[in-house]
């Protein structure tokens, strides 16, 4: 069994999703959330990295836990829909519902890559790594035994040179993405950026 089971979804996370799901169900949305108790949902633990963290020496292991995402096909739909649950103060809250081409890509990536991931020779914990400011999302295969064995499988990105669904070592992935992170930081730290604010 090459994939370590996900950490058990905390009871408070499930409870927040179940109790607040109805508040986010709108009949006029083009994609409809399945009921919260549907077995269709893929629960994903989300981690985020900023450009500055990408440039640092800590690499992927500096990624911050940012809650959970419940991803499924919409009711009677081929399209994906995602509900995000995050910690607020001492509790958990359903904070957003998302749909559109980017969510469809995320859902397809799970379907396409899961058999591949199961066939990997090493033992991994499956995480979702978001680098929102670089519009990039990836599976992060975290090796509990050895960080040198970590793998990154990007599936949603606009960055040229990064091939969706290819498995990268941490070193390979960081080498490819750091120039983009550096460019974003240069603008963010420049006087030109102050006009946006």
């Amino acid at each position: 069994m090459p994939l370590v089971p996900l950490p058990k979804i905390p009871q408070e996370v499930s409870a927040a999703f179940q109790s607040q799901w109805a508040d986010f169900s709108d009949a006029e949305d083009p994609v409809q959330l399945p009921p919260a108790d549907s077995p269709e949902y893929h629960a994903q633990r989300i981690f985020v990295l900023s450009p500055g963290e990408l440039m640092g020496a800590g690499g992927l292991r500096t990624a911050r836990a940012a809650g959970w995402r419940f991803l499924a096909s919409g009711i009677s739909s081929q399209y994906g829909i995602a509900a995000s649950v995050a910690q607020r103060g001492n509790g958990w809250s359903l904070e957003s519902v998302s749909y559109g081409p980017g969510i469809d890509v995320s859902l397809n990536a799970i379907r396409l890559l899961q058999p591949d991931l199961q066939a990997l020779p090493d033992v991994y914990e499956l995480r979702v790594l978001k680098i929102p400011s670089l519009l990039t999302e990836a599976f992060w295969l975290l090796s509990p035994a050895n960080s040198q064995l970590d793998r990154v499988v990007p599936y949603l990105t606009r960055l040229s040179g990064i091939e969706p669904t290819r498995k990268y070592s941490e070193h390979e992935f960081l080498s490819l993405i750091r120039p983009y992170a550096k460019k974003r930081l240069e603008y963010a730290n420049s006087p030109r950026a102050s006009g946006d604010r």
Binding site: F24, D26, V48, G56, S98, R184, D196, R197
Partner: protein, 170 residues
Amino acid sequence: MANMNFTMDLQMGDLLCWAAVSVSVDKSMPPRRAPTVDQCALAAVVLPAAGCHSNASGQCTCDDEAGLVEGLSGVNRPSTGAIPPQSLAVINNQLLHHRPVCIRIEWADPSQRDGATSHFVVIYKTSATKVWTIEPGHGTTHKFTHQTFHDGTELYESDGTWKNTYMLLP
């Protein structure tokens, strides 16, 4: 409650969200004018680079960041400039007048003293308590409770905060 018939063009470069939002806003607002400038033509006007053109894969050869105020000015859609997040009533009023509401999402960078990065997106729909945003990177719609989106931090894509609003002028 308001719902604009709004279509967001995907950005023609990984740094061109400002151009995609500006051009999409221009296309969505009356009076419709032809020909509407495309993202790459707008980039040629706003950015210091020369010789911008679309390549074979539909990407603009000038791929760089700029401010949304510059982008909106470039398509002759004047705005208030960057102002704080707005109430649901104000947003409703804009949408009812066929003016999409542009906002800036900021991702603070814990490793940097300054250096926050940005993404421009549009609020195009509201209900009694919710707002719908659409973004030009991947065309994703996000729905939030207005109150938590307005008051909260790190809500957008797990980590981003609504920092500024750009109201289009009549």
